[in-house]
Symmetry: C2
Subunit: 160 residues, 2 copies
Amino acid sequence: MSNNCHGDMIKELIHRYERAHFTVERKLYALLRDLMPAELTVDQFNMIRFLQFNGRSTPSELAEVFGVGKSSITAIISRLSDKGFIRRLSEESDRRIVILTLTEEGKRLCESIDARVEAMLADIMNHFEEEEAERFISTFEKLADVMAGTAGLGSNEGKE
Amino acid sequence: MSNNCHGDMIKELIHRYERAHFTVERKLYALLRDLMPAELTVDQFNMIRFLQFNGRSTPSELAEVFGVGKSSITAIISRLSDKGFIRRLSEESDRRIVILTLTEEGKRLCESIDARVEAMLADIMNHFEEEEAERFISTFEKLADVMAGTAGLGSNEGKE
DNA sequence: ACTACTTAGTTCTACTGTCTAACTATTCGA
DNA sequence: TCGAATAGTTAGACAGTAGAACTAAGTAGT
């Protein structure tokens, strides 16, 4: 077993990753939560945000992207629709499909929170040299690709 | 404004970070969820895991570490205690304090899930050169330190 | 054209995690 | 000893989640 030390090395790296991940995620979530206005949760903001980038979407697509069941999406969308941030429209060509878009108020709200979120992230990022940040994010993107590729393991396929 | 391009650079990095973060977190959570046995949620596993590393803890410490209110901890601990994974004991020297430890069954369960989680993470990590992984994790740890330091902004202090 | 299957989305029910406020029990301090 | 502080729990509310049953709409086979 000449690769014993290699295995231990991996184990060590995993352990370090887990610790850092735990801290970063908890803290980031807490910071985000503090930036939310009273009428919005972090999850609701993420949904609105996706719609702002995407322009429009459907419940099925959101369920796929967010990795949750469609009934969860219905619940979130209904709350956001009640608050007047999201509009539901039927697709002309296939009336089963629901088209989701932001209302003007939704767009405004999203932009104003977005600005604060970016400022917060910029604050954090300023603790790093540009080169280190660039390298970190590049690896992070590679990780995202790997994870997206490992999709098969996600096994949310064919649900509902 | 000679640093306009610098600001844009930061903005670009932030945007890339946000996209990668979103993908990685959603996927990681989905993978984790799939590793959980029927009787445990991901959050419950995280709590058990912390106790395994820490040996023992108290509701107050858990609330601090996990960044939530003490009543949330009571709820989670009660469920885990009902299932026989966690034991509640009163501290001799100050009977207000509750000491939390894992039962033997809790330890066993944690170890078996842990093995699977590590295998899953090792799988992902094998997509990277050791040097890149090492550098990534180092920056990640630095980020964790920065976030922990930014604690003041977390504003969960003095809650309850 | 009629029937059966599929797909998109919603509704209903149940559970977990969360917060806040009110409460109990214990300790500390003046 | 009495009042304040501390540790934890309880109760009530709500968001997010899953799963099963449901509606509405489109698709295919015959």
